[in-house]
Each structure stands twice: as C-alpha cells, then as structure tokens.
C-alpha cells in the first residue's frame, strides 16, 4: 500500500500510470474485433490492464492520463453494465465522457449512423464507444469518422473488450492460457461474446471447445477454409465437453430462443446444458466458471455455481473497468487524442 500512496502523491499533471507499457507496439486506430490480433498486441493490452488495475487500487483512483479527451458512448442497444464500465474507465483516466443513448429505430426515423457519427466528431469526440444491434455497424462508423471507434458489441459479431476482460480474468487465476481447455457452452449461434473469445483464446494457443445444441451452433465452425474461422472443437454433449476443462464459460440463454423454436424449452435445455456442480465434477479440480452476464440462474448456470468458489463473475465485472481503461488509453495514443 505504501507504493500506492507514493504514486497517488505525485503531482496531478503527470500522467502516472505505473509501468506504462511501450504503446508504440499499438498501431490500431480502432478496436473493432480481435480476429487479427497478434499475441504481442494482446500482451500489450494485458500489461496495460495490469497498470490500470494498479490505478484502480489507489486511495483516489484517478489519473489525468486522458484529461482533455472526449469520449462518447453511443449505445443503440441498452446495456447498463458495459456502458457504465466504459464510462467509469474514461472518468478514472480524466476524460470527459458523454453518454448518448440512441435507439436502433432512430435509423429508420431519419438520422443515419454515418450522420450521427459525423455529428459526434464535429462536437469534438476523440473516441466513440459504440454498441449496436447490427453486426458490422462499427465498421461502417469507423470508415466515416476521424475519431477512434471502440466496438462495445455489434449484433452477433464481436464484443472485443468482453473477450479481453475474460482473458485477463482467466490469466489472473490460471496463468498462461496456452494448452488450457476452455469450454464455451450455450447459445453460440447468437453470441458475439463467444465469437470474440474464440478468436482471442485460440490465437493464444488455448484448446477451445464450443458446446451447444446443434440448433444453436453457427455454420462452418470446423470446416472453414484456412484460418478464416478460429480452430475450435465442436461438441453437442456438455458432459463430454466439460471433461478436463480448465475454464467453463456459460452463455446467456435468452427466452426468445426458446420461443423461436431453437430448443424445446427451459426444462430440456437446463437438464442438458446447465453448468452445475454435478457436471463440474468432470472438469479439472481447479477449474473456474465464467459468465458474461446477465445470468439466468437455474437455466444455463445453477445458483450454487454462479455464487460458488469457482465463479469469476464478479472478477469479470471488476476487470472490465481496467481492460476498458487500457483500451481507451491505447486507442487514443494512435488516434491523436488531445491527451498528454
């Protein structure tokens, strides 16, 4: 704690991020997806995140690293946790954060995404953190603005900061993920969290098993040409998939999937795909359980597991702020934000 006090006692105009990593290794203007991340870039995010964790542990968790930088959270979909996580991340770093809640239907009501993004740029946004129900929307935004675009979840496509915080959380408990068996179970078809995690974890050498009823598995996993999809193993039986797992990540099962006829109902789904103590007995002894939230306890995860010793759910949320600080810090280096 002595270290923390000393750091906090520095003059406030010095951007004091302990062990600030060499951000010259970061060349990305935007953070849209993790499908082309190198292990070196991932390492940079992780070491930066660790530095941010240190900031968050201070008595007064504030640094002026992004003072003068304007961050806009532009959310076309509701998400209290992701939006507030980014908002707090920006505020800890001293940025001005503006929250814009736009509904998807406003697109059809008139103003296009491109117009909105250009308007935000015109009022001085350096970073636009964007959540959208349409896959690929952040790519469109990024092509039409000089601001940095950070994808906070687009449709069924990607949720890069969630995958990065998941990785950080895994490493905090297990160390290097290389060779670790990680099982993602649930509605993979509709999950951007699963897609981003597949790219990130396989790039780092993890052994990834994807488990879902066949109706909730996306097409082409396992038979795409070359490296056009991440190399994962597909398994429809959770009791088989969970064997010797180091990490079990349960995905949220939405009610609309039941109504949409993807699975017969909650009863059958929870019997066959719920992560519970009985099934976890087949996993490795120190296996951890994760969930991107919000959880449907009793459906994809049992109450006991959700709140048990293996659960990392709260750590995931806490690490989310540090990861987002790291991402905001790194992207503003390249985007030429007005930060020091």
């Amino acid at each position: 704690m002595t270290t923390t006090r000393e750091t906090a006692a520095r003059p406030v105009d010095v951007p004091s991020i302990a062990a600030a990593p060499d951000e010259t290794a970061w060349r990305r203007r935007h953070l849209l997806d993790l499908d082309d991340f190198t292990p070196e870039e991932v390492g940079l995010v992780l070491t930066t995140t660790a530095a941010m964790k240190e900031v968050l542990a201070r008595e007064v968790p504030r640094v002026p690293a992004l003072r003068g930088t304007t961050i806009v959270t532009l959310f076309y979909e509701n998400s209290t946790r992701t939006r507030s996580s980014f908002e707090l991340a920006g505020k800890v770093l001293g940025a001005d954060v503006i929250n814009v809640a736009a509904s998807s239907s406003s697109v059809t009501k008139g103003e296009s995404l491109i117009d909105t993004v250009r308007t935000l740029q015109a009022i001085g946004a350096d970073v636009i953190v964007m959540r959208h129900s349409r896959s690929g929307a952040p790519y469109l935004a990024a092509r039409h603005t000089t601001a940095a675009v950070v994808n906070a979840g687009d449709g069924l496509h990607a949720h890069p900061t969630q995958a990065l915080l998941d990785l950080y959380t895994m490493r905090a408990r297990l160390g290097d993920v290389r060779g670790r068996r990680i099982v993602i179970v649930g509605d993979v078809l509709h999950s951007r969290v699963a897609r981003s995690n597949m790219w990130l974890l396989t790039a780092l050498g993890a052994e990834l098993v994807v488990c879902a009823p066949p109706t909730l598995l996306p097409r082409g996993l396992g038979d795409a040409p070359g490296d056009r999809l991440p190399p994962v193993r597909v398994e429809t039986d959770l009791d088989v998939a969970i064997r010797d797992a180091d990490v079990v990540m349960a995905l949220r099962m939405q009610n609309e999937r039941m109504q949409g006829g993807f699975v017969p109902g909650v009863r059958e789904y929870s019997r066959r795909y719920q992560v519970n103590e009985e099934r976890l007995a087949r996993a490795r002894p120190g296996a951890i359980v994760m969930h991107p939230g919000p959880m449907n306890e009793g459906v994809e995860i049992s109450h006991e597991v959700a709140h048990g010793l293996r659960s990392q759910v709260e750590e995931q949320v806490a690490n989310g702020v540090a990861v987002r600080m790291a991402v905001l810090w790194l992207t503003t280096r390249v985007a030429g934000g007005s930060a020091a």
Partner: protein
C-alpha cells in the same frame, strides 16, 4: 428510314443458326438483310469489326427498370441506356414497380414510355398476383394481350402453393411461363446473406441453400402436375441446379436462368470484397437476393450453364440509390446493378476455360429467347437472320477495362465490382438498326 450500315470483317457468332465465321453484316431499314462474306454496300455506313466478335444483341429476361414509381433508383431511359452499354438490345422488365405491373394500364404506361425513351426493346413481365401480394391472380389474358411475355412476383416468391398451381394452369392458356423467385420465406426469414462460414464470421443471419432448393422442387412438381411452364429465376445453389436438371430429364416444362454474379462471386465477397483481402468490409454492394453462395454452389451454376440445364444468363439488374447501400448491412437494400458488367464478368468463365465463347453468347441470346418463348412476341430476336431485327453487339473478348460505377449509365452504382478489372468488353450496340452505344475505341 435509317442509314444502311455494313459491319465489315468481324467474326460473326450466331448460335441460333450455328453460324460462326468471318462475315459482313448488312443492316437496312432496321433489319438484317445479309450475313455473308464480301457484301457490296455502296453508301452504307461502314463499321470496321475486324478482330471483333459480331453477335446478336443480348437478351435479358430479368431486369428491374424501377419505372413507374421508383424512378429515383432507375427509369426506363437510364435503364435502357445501361442495357445498351451492356450489349443488351432486349430487356424484360420485372413488375415490382409502384404500382406493380398488375393491370393493363400500368403495362401500357411502360410500353408507351419505352416507345418514347427506351434505347432498346422493353418487354414487360406482368405480376403473378394482384399488388404482388400473393393472394389473387391478375388478369393474365388482358396482360398477355397488352404485351406481357411472362408473369412473376419477383422479389418475393409465390409462397402459396395453391396460388402457384393456379397460376401455372391459368397462364398456360396464354402460353406464358410463370417466373418464380424460389426461396422459402420461412427458412430464409430475416436472412441477409448465404448461411455458411462467412455468415458465421460476420455475425450476419444466413439463408440456407435449402431455402431455394425446397421451392424449386415444389415448383417443378407443380409444373409437372399442371403441364404449365415454370421458369426458375436466378438459380444459385447446387441443389437448385440439380432439381432443374432432374425435372428436365423427366420432361417437365421447366427452364432456368443464372446471374453473372452467381456464376463468378462467392459469399466471401460480402466479407472481404471482390478484390479479396483480410479486412472485413460488410460489403453492402454484395448484398443480393438470392445471396452470393459458396464456391461449391458457384461451381454447380457454371456446370449447369455449360451443360444446358440452365438455359440462360439473366442479370437481375437491381439498381438502388446510394443511400440504400450506404448503411448498416442489415438495413441495406438487396440487389446489384448488373447490366453494364454482365458480359465482362461472364467472360471470366471463358478466359478460365470453363465455357466457350459461343456457348456464352448462346446463353445470352438464343437461350433466353427459347426459354421464355420470346420469338412469339418479338420474332427474330436473339439471332442474325435475314429480315430479323438489326439487334447486334460488337464484342472485344480480350479488351481489359476497370469497372467505374460512377461512369455507369444506370442510376444504380451498386456493384461490388468497382475498381475491379474485367477482360472482355462491349464495344458497340446496335438496336433496331441504330447505333445506341459505341465506345471511343470502336471503329464505328
């Protein structure tokens, strides 16, 4: 009276007459009056076609002219200028206009406007159902009299099997085919592209290939049961091609078309663009219905076109305004502006040794005429015979050019081929004896 034209020294390829030789073509008063070597034609306007292909003007059985009602996307003037640039001298206008072409009044409007403004022949296609709503038949007799060469609710499938049965039965009295856009609307619900690894990569909702195949099979069964003629629009899947092949083998009156893009582009273009690459593009200009499919499906379409299972190439020219493509992928309109790139794109198959040039020309001339029985309405089109209409195209199969959508005659710049080099160009187009398009390079 138009000035006589003599087209000198080209390789004349007229598949309908199995003619493929160097010859001169004489055009007088809007008609072909001679195809042979060494025609004496004093005073005729000379066109030097040496080293070029001279072929019948192309016939497109699937063109969206958007007129009436959607003139901001295209109108009869701009659409037929685009046709002329693409080498097409006949286009069949799809009825998904506003209002739909489901009454004689609308058909007559189109024909009247075409007579005044069109550079090439426009043959209207009537709707299958009133307002294309898929419930009640339109007046096929009246519309056939007015000039409709077929009926289609294209853009939407005829989902109701009973309506499709009645349409096939009733239209047969007027010897008109029903053109169906085959796609099970439930299986393809909310889909914006082909279902496969690319849709997984992009997180976009995909339509399975089976959504096409199930309806092709249904339509063939109904055609077989009724004796009616079904024409399958824009076949795009291996299973669809196979179904047509089996139907034809059984003697069912089924014909089919395929688009240039389904012969040459795959669903990867949606992700990475026509030039390829690693970065995700979410290329809205490659959003089209039916969607661009897998390499295996493309292969089947090429095989089907080569062996005659698929009767013809049709563009499914679907122009849209810029703003309808400059948006999120899910919200973008379906369609490719295809008239002006059709020949150059299809020439890839010839240059790759998959199709010979004469066969390609057949599938763009005699093939479509035979498939839909167009010679009943417009005798002599799709071939170069004495007394037939002087609809002629001059082609340079080797000429390389780069697609620049800003230079399209079509109002629709929506093509995924912008910046792509094609090998094979239309140098000049003559429609009804009039030069309606000529490149600077043409010696016209």
């Amino acid at each position: 009276m138009t000035e006589p034209i003599i087209i000198r020294g080209g390789r004349v390829v007229d598949p309908a007459r199995r003619f493929d030789a160097t010859a001169d073509v004489l055009v007088e008063d809007g008609h072909v009056t001679g195809v042979r070597d060494g025609i004496a034609a004093d005073g005729a306007h000379e066109i030097d076609a040496r080293s070029l292909i001279v072929a019948p003007g192309f016939v497109d059985v699937h063109t969206h002219l958007r007129d009436p009602g959607l003139e901001y996307k295209e109108d009869i003037g701009s659409g037929t200028r685009a046709a002329a640039r693409g080498g097409f001298t006949t286009v069949c206008a799809m009825p998904n206009t506003q209002p739909a072409m489901d009454t004689r009044a609308t058909v007559e409007y189109v024909l009247r406007k075409a007579a005044a403004e069109a550079l090439v022949r426009v043959l209207p296609i009537g709707a299958v159902s009133r307002e294309r709503a898929g419930t009640a038949l339109v007046e096929y007799g009246d519309l056939a009299e007015a000039g409709c060469i077929a009926f289609s609710d294209d853009g939407a499938p005829v989902a109701d099997a009973t309506l499709m049965r009645r349409a096939l039965e009733y239209a047969s009295a007027f010897v008109r085919p029903i053109i169906d856009h085959c796609e099970d609307p439930v299986l393809a619900h909310d889909a914006v592209m082909h279902e496969g690894w690319v849709s997984t990569r992009l997180g976009l909702r995909g339509a399975p290939a089976a959504a096409e195949a199930t309806m092709v099979e249904r339509d063939i069964a109904l055609a077989e049961a009724t004796g009616g003629h079904v024409h399958i629009a824009h076949v795009s899947t291996r299973a669809g091609v196979d179904a047509v092949r089996r139907g034809k083998a059984r003697g069912v009156r089924v014909t089919a078309e395929v688009t240039p893009h389904h012969l040459t582009l795959t669903d990867e273009v949606v992700a990475f663009g026509a030039a390829g690459g690693e970065a995700l593009l979410y290329e809205t200009n490659a959003k089209v219905n039916p969607p661009l499919r897998s390499p295996n499906d493309v292969e089947a379409c090429i095989e089907g076109l080569a062996d005659g299972t698929i009767d013809c190439v049709a563009t499914d020219h679907a122009p849209h305004a810029v703003i309808e493509k400059l948006c999120e992928f899910d919200d973008a309109a379906f369609g490719i502006s295809g008239l002006e790139t059709a020949f150059g794109l299809c020439m890839r198959l010839v240059h790759d040794g998959r199709l010979d040039l004469a066969t390609l020309i057949e599938r763009m001339t005699a093939g479509p005429v035979r498939a839909l029985g167009l010679d009943r309405v417009a005798p002599g089109i799709g071939t170069l015979m004495d007394g037939g209409p002087a609809d002629i195209v001059l082609l340079d199969p080797e000429r390389r050019w780069t697609v620049d959508p800003q230079r399209f005659a079509s109002k629709g710049t929506n093509t995924p081929l912008g910046g792509i080099e094609l090998r094979g160009a239309v140098l000049a187009t003559i429609a009804g004896g009039v030069v309606v398009y000529a490149q600077e390079a043409a010696r016209v």
